[in-house]
């Protein structure tokens, strides 16, 4: 029975109007845009894996693979769905729209963006739209990061259509897939123009971007890149602090060695973010320093930088006390204690594969998922080219393997980025108000 308190809102208004206005607390599923709805804070039900097609493997196309990850399900650990996008274009990262009804997935070589309906039935995503005008509208290439804004998608690119180096920018599309605006990453005055990840701190009206490399490098075999001194000069060495409202850069930080994923602390009152630089194997902290000025500071070393472990992905815990780091070359998953973010300390490590790339943890930190593929031309070859998803339980001391999916064995391809979906709620469909809305 519905409670009839039609003037409750007025009472709340009266009391609220007397108080000071403050922006609401925010948190996310440890690495999503803070604008993302319906965070999965309990047991995730489905894991969506954006997968690179491989010649001679299955239908050879890039595809969105959905796996049952609910331990109570009869099909736990099994593949529920595989939706081919058509062709191969270096499938890479994905991001939810703010309402979490759609999942945008990008390709780095042909700049196509695929929009999957995952809200109607997350067990069976449906490809509903393909955006093909990214290069034409922006002049950028390689749409990489998909970061929800209210009603829009902010996209960070890796390259451009003219020189194919790392000079690039950001683009904003409406949730309907219509191009709205582009914003170049600053070049000159200390800026290298390069891009990679995006992370917004709405409370401070700022966001950060990081920097990787351009199409000329990421589509070329890694060995060839490393042996070419000129190519090695063309990696990002900066992070940029932007004004969120104006979408204009406000400060450039020198962060050598390709800073990649960025994670803000999710704790109320915290104003700091961490990133890992891939080539120099360092953790960096972006925070406020002297005179409250934003600064970037190297705070820890990951493995032995001389051995080039190549930290590729990081995952921050919901309480911002722990940070998982995957290093690709040595196939190692490391855990850092970042209770003091200025002094991270590694407290655990485990070899989780012959090559490991992405890492995603559940909101409660008890489950950790890893995938193996970095880039089609950068993955290892021969026996070391295992292509797997591995699901672990984390009890605070040890990663315990629960299941794995052999993506080559299942004729799928190379697994890369992962996103969770919760169970489809049936209870909400049975309520009278919802019925009235239908």
């Amino acid at each position: 029975m519905k409670r009839y308190s039609r003037f409750l809102a007025v009472a709340l208004l009266t009391s609220a109007a007397g108080g000071s206005f403050g922006l609401a607390a925010w948190a996310d599923e440890t690495c999503l845009s803070p604008y993302t709805a319906s965070l999965v804070k309990g047991q995730e039900a489905y894991l969506h894996v954006w997968t690179l097609g491989e010649q001679g493997v299955g239908d050879e196309s890039d595809k969105l693979v959905t796996i049952d990850v609910d331990p109570k399900s009869k099909t736990y650990g099994q593949i529920l769905s595989s939706v081919s996008a058509g062709g191969r274009g270096e499938a890479h990262h994905m991001g939810f729209t703010d309402d979490r009804k759609y999942l945008w997935a990008g390709r780095l070589s042909d700049s196509r963006i695929f929009v999957f309906d995952i809200g109607s039935n997350p067990a069976k995503p449906v490809l509903v739209k393909t955006i093909t005008d990214f290069e034409e509208k922006t002049g950028y290439a390689g749409p990489h990061t998909f970061y929800a804004l209210p009603g829009r998608m902010l996209i960070g690119a890796l390259s451009n259509t003219k020189t194919h180096d790392g000079v690039t920018g950001l683009a904003v599309y409406s949730n309907d897939g219509v191009f709205l605006s582009s914003h170049p990453i600053p070049l000159g005055d200390g800026g290298d123009g390069y891009g990679y990840d995006i992370a917004i701190n709405p409370k401070k009206n700022v966001f950060l971007t990081s920097s990787f490399t351009g199409l000329n490098n990421y589509m070329r075999p890694l060995g060839s890149v490393v042996s070419d001194p000129e190519a090695m000069k063309r990696f990002g060495n900066t992070m940029v602090l932007w004004n969120l409202k104006s979408m204009k850069p406000e400060k450039i930080f020198a962060v050598p060695g390709a800073p990649l994923e960025i994670r803000w602390s999710l704790n109320e009152g915290d104003d700091w973010a961490v990133t890992a630089s891939a080539l120099t194997s360092k953790l960096w902290l972006v925070s406020r320093g002297v005179n409250n000025e934003w600064q970037a500071k190297e705070v820890a070393t990951i493995g032995d930088p001389a051995k080039i472990p190549l930290p590729v992905d990081i995952s921050i815990s919901a309480d911002a006390k722990r940070l998982w780091v995957n290093t690709f070359m040595d196939g190692t998953t490391r855990l850092f204690d970042i209770s003091d973010p200025a002094k991270p300390v590694q407290i655990y490590e485990k070899v989780t594969g012959k090559q490991v790339n992405m890492i995603s943890q559940s909101w409660d930190g008890k489950r950790v998922y890893i995938t193996s593929s970095l880039l089609a031309n950068w993955d290892k070859t021969g026996e070391d080219n295992e292509q797997v998803l591995r699901a672990y339980d984390w009890d605070g001391k040890e990663l315990k393997l629960k299941f794995e999916v052999d993506f080559f064995g299942q004729k799928l391809g190379r697994p890369h980025h992962m996103k969770f979906s919760g169970p489809l709620s049936k209870a909400s469909l049975e309520t009278p108000v919802h019925a009235a809305l239908r």
């Binding site: 409670r3 308190s5 039609r6 003037f7 409750l8 809102a9 007025v10 709340l12 208004l13 609220a16 109007a17 108080g19 206005f21 922006l23 609401a24 803070p34 604008y35 709805a37 309402d99 804004l149 209210p150 009603g151 829009r152 904003v172 219509v178 709205l180 605006s181 005055d189 200390g190 709405p202 009206n205 700022v206 490393v226 000069k233 990696f235 060495n237 900066t238 969120l244 104006s246 204009k248 406000e250 400060k251 450039i252 930080f253 020198a254 050598p256 060695g257 390709a258 120099t280 930088p305 001389a306 080039i308 709620s425 909400s428 309520t431 108000v433 919802h434 019925a435 009235a436 809305l437």
Partner: protein, 212 residues
């Protein structure tokens, strides 16, 4: 060595030395995207006589939000209501803004929020109606509401609460220009009256620049 091959920079490089980052930008120094059009809908204001939603959108800048009268989520309707109150107060205090902005609340629960109930809310704000009108709209039923929700990207679901049904909805407030384009969408994290007023003044400056 790979790392040694990377060119190293050594210092943070402020683009605008001396200015703290993240301050609300000055009105007119930035651009707001034309995000989407507002769909047409049949709405009710104070009676069962149907009106077109476009009647409450065009010709002025509009701050538009969804609500329902019994909403108690502190990060939902009360937050929006508080922000609308503050924006309204600022507009009333600035004579140059009078008559150029309207506020609109649209009910998410037409089965409960009748035109009469909405009239009760509207009467509370009649005193400043000329400077900044505040319209409280509802519609006949979910059949009429749902296309509007879909068109505005407003997600609503219902769940049983302790004392009845609770509507879950993402807080979205829409800033709409006089041509009917949505130019900004605020969430619970960005619905800051300072930012909203900056955006309103940016749109007004844009109108001035475009006028012959």
């Amino acid at each position: 060595m790979l790392a040694a091959a990377v060119g190293l920079l050594t210092a943070a490089l402020p683009l605008f030395a001396g200015e703290p980052a993240g301050l609300p930008p000055a009105p007119g120094t930035y651009r707001l995207d034309r995000i989407q059009r507002v769909p047409q809908a049949i709405v009710l204001e104070g009676s069962l006589i149907p009106r077109l939603l476009s009647h409450y959108i065009g010709g002025k800048i509009t701050l538009f939000g969804f609500f329902y009268s019994y909403c108690a989520d502190p990060e939902g309707c009360p937050l929006a209501w508080d922000a609308f109150e503050k924006v309204r107060a600022e507009i009333m205090a600035d004579a140059k803004l009078h008559g150029r902005i309207r506020l609109v609340f649209m009910s998410l629960d037409p089965a409960h929020d009748s035109p009469d109930a909405m009239k009760g809310f509207a009467q509370r704000y009649e005193a400043g109606g000329r400077a900044v009108p505040w319209h409280f709209l509802t519609t006949y039923s979910g059949f009429f509401l749902k296309p509007l929700l879909r068109g505005m990207g407003e997600e609503v679901s219902a769940r049983p609460g302790e004392d009845g049904v609770v509507l879950n909805h993402m807080l979205k407030v829409f800033l709409i220009d006089k041509e009917g384009w949505v130019r900004e969408i605020y969430s619970s994290q960005t619905l800051d009256p300072v930012l909203v007023l900056g955006d309103i003044r940016t749109l007004l400056l844009e109108e001035t620049a475009l006028s012959p």
